[in-house]
Amino acid sequence: MGLKPATNPDVEGATIELSIDGKSVTARDGVSLYDVIAMTGKIIPAMCYHYTFDPFGSCGMCLVMQEGKKAPVRSCTAKAAAGMVIRTEGEDLFLARKKAVEKHLSVHPLDCPVCDADGHCELQDMAFQHGVTNLANAKQKFIPEDTRSLVLDFNMNRCIACAECINVCKDVLMIDALQFMKKGGFNQVVAKGDLALDCEFCGDCLAVCPVGAITNKFSKYLYKPWQMKKTTTTCNYCGDGCQLYLETKDEEVVRVTSPLSWKNKWGDRSETAKGHGGLCVRGRFGFEYLDSKSRLTQPLVREGGRLVQKPWLETMHLLVDQLTEIKEKSGADAIGGLVTARCTNEELYLFQKLMRTGFGTNQLDSSARYGHMNFVLASKRATGLGRMPNDWEDLTKAKAIMLFGSNITETNPLTAVRIKEAIRVYKAQVMTFDSAITNIAKLASHPFLIKPGTEGAVIDGLVKTTIEQDLVDEEVVEKHPRAFDALKSAVANLSLEHLAAQTGVPIEAFREVAAIFAESPRSIILCAEGIVRRTNGYQNVLKLMDLAWITGKLGRAGCGVNTVTEEPNEQGAVDMGAAPEFLPGQARFDDPAVRDRFAKAWETSLPPVGSGAHLIEILKRCKSGRIKALYILGENPLATLPASMEVRAALERLELLVVQDPFLTETGKLAHFVLPACTYAEKDGTFTNLEGRVLRVRQAMDPLGESLPDWHIMTALANAMGCRWEYQSANDIQAEIMKLLPGYYNLGQPRKVVPVPDQYLSNDYAAEVKARYQQGPPSGENPRPFSLLMGQLLVHSGKLSTQAPGLMKIAPNTGKLRMNIGDMERLGLQDGVKVRLTSDRGSLQLAVQADQSIAPGTCFFPEHFNEPPVKDLMPVSVDAATGVPSFKQTWVSVEQA
C-alpha cells in the first residue's frame, strides 16, 4: 500500500488540512484516511484494519463518501490528501456497510453456538450493529478443519479473509508463516506451503483474528469468553514484562490473551514503539503449569529418609525449632539463603529483610547472579546506573543496533520485535555478533558469525578500529584526556590481524561496523547471554562501555549499553537488595550512611560488612560446613549448576535445607522441609522488567491446595523467629518499600536516569583499563575441535517451562545434541546416530540431530533439560569481580560411538 506511518523521527510529514463531516482537520501527509478519521474520535467499523500494520483493505466496511466521487471509497487504503471533503455518516453509507456485512455473512457458517469466538467476534458485532436478519443466498463452505498445528486450529469456514493474521505475522513480527491459498473455491489462510504450521507459535494471529477462524487448541470448546474471569497481570517467563490477561474459571486457568487483539484496533502507529501488545509462545501457551497436577499442595517434612506430608502448623513448629537451634549453636553465619528472580519485588525485599534482620546473615543471593549481575555491577561501576539506560522506545527508534552474543528472538521475543520494528519502520542497521545462526541475524543488515567465545575480542577490535579511524567524539573524550590516553595505549598493542583471525570477523568489517556505530545519531549496544553469561563478562561489559564512551554514546538520549534478562524480575532482585553487595535501591551494603538508614528503618542492626557471600561462595561454605542451614526460595542450583560444582555434596552436608517452591524440584528432593509456594497467578505484587518499569502482578485465583504466597510464609517464619512483622498483604510491604525507596513504583514508566561516566573516568579508569585489553592467546589447534554451547530455546524459560505440558509438546526434550549439517556430513553422522561427547570434565553418549541454526564447529544442547546431563561436561569459571559463574561453553570432541 505504501502507507508508511508518518512517525519516523527523522522525517516529519507535511501538514495538510481536510474536512471531515464539515469539520476542518489537520493531519500529516501520506497517512491513511482511516487513521485521520480515527484520530478525530469517530469510529468507522473496519474488520481488516489494525493499527500495528499497513491497511489491507479487504473487508469493505470502512466506507466513506468523498466529495467528487460517485461511489463510497474505502477510507483505510485511501491516502489523506489536502482539501478532501469527507462524509462518514449517513443512511447511504449505513446501507453500503450493511451490504458488506451481508456479503461476509453469506459465506460464514452460522455456528456461533459452537464457535469459541462467540461473544468476542467482530462479524457478530457488525451483524448486530447493522441489523442483519435475512440473508438472500447463503452458502456453506464445509472446508475441513486444519488441526495439524500443535497450538492452533484453522477453521477456514469461518474465515472472512481479512488477512489480519497474515499481516501481523509478516509486518509486525516478520516471521511470515501464513499465506493465502485458493482451495475449494475459497481463499483460505494456510501455513506457508499448506503444511502443518511450524513457526514461533507466538499466537498473535490468534489474537487479531476477528472471527473464530483461528482457534486456540488449549481452550477450544471449553468456555465462552463471558464465562471466564479476566485478570490483567505480568508474564513471568522473561524480563520483557509483557502484560497479559489470565482468563480463569474457578481454579482452572483456561487461556491467556494479550492486549494485542482485534478489539484494540485503533491506535497511533507510533505507540507500537513502546510494544505492540503481543505475547510469545511461552506467555500465551505456557500457562498450564499454574494449575498443574504436579504442584505442591502440602508442606513436606523429611522423616526417616522420606518426605511426608504434614500440616502447616506442625511443619512451621519443627522448622523454627531447628532454625533457632542452629542459630543459637553456630551463630547467624551458619544460615544462608538463595532466592529466584521469579518472585515479586515485595517478596525479594522481604527475603533480604528476613535474611538480614530475622536470621542476621548477609549470605544471600538471587538468580540474577547467573548473568545479570555482570551487567549491573559493570554498569554501576562505569556509569553509576545499575540497569539498562534505554527502554523499548529507544530501541525501536535506534538507527544502529549492535547485538553481542544474543539470540534475542529466542530469549526475549518481544524485545526482538522492537528490533524488528527498528529494522522495518525506522530502517535501522543491525549488526549481530554471535556464534550461532540466529533468527535476528537473518534479518540484520550486518550479521557476523564469530568463533565461539570470542565476543570479547570482537569488542577489542571495534574499540581499536574506532580509535584508529578517528571516529572518536572529541568533545566527550577531551573532558578526560588521561583516561583516553590510557585507553589508547591499552589498545595500541592489540593487533587487528590477530583479532580478525581469532574472531573470524574480517578487518574491513570491524572498520565498517565501527563507522556505522559511531556515525549513527542513535546507536544502541545490546549484550546478552553471550557476554554476561560467559567468562570475562564483567570486563566485556566494561569494554562495551568504553566503546560507547569514546563514540560519545554514553549518556546521550537514545543511546547506551543495554542487556536483556532471562527471568522476569532479575532487575527487581538487584533493586530490592537480594544480593550480598546491595541493600534495597542498589545502595552499597558497606556504605555506613545507608546502613544506618536501613538499620533505623528496620529497628535492628545489620550483619557486619564483609560477612556476605554470593551464590558460589554460599555453596562453598555449605560444603565446608560453615553454613549449616540453607533457605532456598524457588531456586534450583542442583539442576542448574554443573556437577563439578559439587552442589549435591554441599546440600547433603547441610543440617537443614528448606526449599520453598511450587514444584518438587531436584533440590527439593534433597530438602528437610519443602514448603508449598504459590505461582504468580495466585498473588499480588510487582515485577521490574528489563527496562526498569515496575509492573503489577495481580491475583487471578485462590492459592492451590494449602500453598501460600511466599511473602506470607516468610512473614510467618520471621514472626516465629522473633521479629514483629505486621504485613497483612503484599500492599503493606509495598507501602514500606515506597517509604524506603521513594519513586521506585514508577507505574510502568521508568525514570529517565542519565548514565554519567565522569566519576569513574576521572578516578580509577586509567589504572584499570590496561588490564582490560589483553591480546588473547593465539588460536592454535585445539585438541577438542567442537565448541559445546548451552542456551535457551524459544519455547522454554529456565526449568519452569518444563512443567507446562503444552510447551513440552511443542519442544520436547529430544535428548539429542544439535549440530551443523556440514559437520555431521564430515563426521559421517546421520540424524539420531549416537555419538560420544567428551570434554575435560567427562564424557557421555547421546544422539545427534541436524539443526539449521548451529554454526559449523559448534554444537548445542538446550539448558532446560538435564537428560542426558550435558551440563555436567561444562567447566565452571567464576568471575573474580562479580562472582558470576559461567558454564555455558566448553570445548568438546565428538566421535561416533
Binding site: 459452537v114 464445509f142 472446508i143 495439524r148 465462552k224 463471558w226
Partner: protein
C-alpha cells in the same frame, strides 16, 4: 333492639334457619357435575405451551442436539444452569456438553433458556411431578435431563412448535450444525444437503 327483630331472631333459631341456608348451597351442588377432579387418579389436560420441567432432546438419529454453547446459561435469569463443554473424544472437532446441570429448585420456568437455544436442544415438557424427600435430587444432571427429554419427547416437540421455535422435522435438520472434518482424518460424512 326492636321487638320485630328479636322475634325474627328467635324464630330463626327455632327453625335452624342458618343450617338450612348453608345446606342450600350443598344441595344445589349435589345436582352439579363435580368441579374438581381426583388428582392422582385423574390427570388434567395441559396445554402445549405449558412450562414444566426442562428436558434435553436428541435428533432422530440419536445424536445429542446440545453443542454446549452456554447460551442457556447466559440467558438464565436465576443462574440455575451450568454447562461444561468439551470436545467429543470419540469424534474429534465435535463440541458437546460434557456436563449439564439445572438446579430445578432455583428455576423460575421463564423459558428463556429454550428461547436462547440455537439448536433447540432444550425444551419444556408437561412434566411437573418430581417432588421428592431429598432436595439434592432436584439438581438435574445431564443424564436425568436426557431421560426427561426422551420420556417426554412429544411434549417437548409440541412445546417448541407451540412457541414457534421448530416447525417440522425438515426445518429442524436445517437448524442442525454440521461440524467441519479434520484435515487429518474424516470423522463424519458430509451432510446430504451440502454434498
Amino acid at each position: 333492639m326492636s321487638v320485630a327483630a328479636l322475634t325474627k331472631k328467635i324464630l330463626q333459631a327455632a327453625l335452624f334457619y342458618e343450617i338450612v341456608d348453608a345446606m342450600k348451597v350443598t344441595f344445589r351442588h349435589m345436582l352439579h357435575r363435580p368441579m374438581t377432579f381426583q388428582y392422582p387418579r385423574e390427570q388434567r389436560t395441559i396445554p402445549d405451551t405449558h412450562r414444566g420441567a426442562l428436558g434435553l432432546l436428541r435428533y432422530d438419529d440419536g445424536r445429542e442436539r446440545c453443542v454446549g454453547c452456554d447460551l442457556c446459561e447466559a440467558a438464565c435469569p436465576s443462574h440455575c444452569i451450568k454447562v461444561i463443554s468439551a470436545e467429543d473424544p470419540a469424534r474429534p472437532l465435535q463440541r458437546y456438553a460434557s456436563e449439564f446441570y439445572i438446579d430445578i429448585t432455583k428455576c423460575v420456568f421463564c423459558g428463556y433458556c429454550v428461547e436462547a437455544c440455537p439448536v433447540n436442544a432444550l425444551a419444556m415438557t408437561k412434566m411437573y411431578e418430581y417432588s421428592t424427600h431429598d432436595k439434592r435430587s432436584l439438581l438435574f444432571d445431564k443424564k436425568r435431563l436426557y431421560d426427561i427429554g426422551e420420556r417426554h419427547l412429544d411434549d417437548g416437540k409440541k412445546y417448541l412448535y407451540a412457541h414457534n421455535q421448530e416447525k417440522n422435522v425438515a426445518q429442524s435438520r436445517e437448524y442442525r450444525y454440521y461440524f467441519p472434518q479434520s484435515v487429518q482424518k474424516s470423522t463424519q460424512p458430509p451432510p446430504k444437503h451440502l454434498s
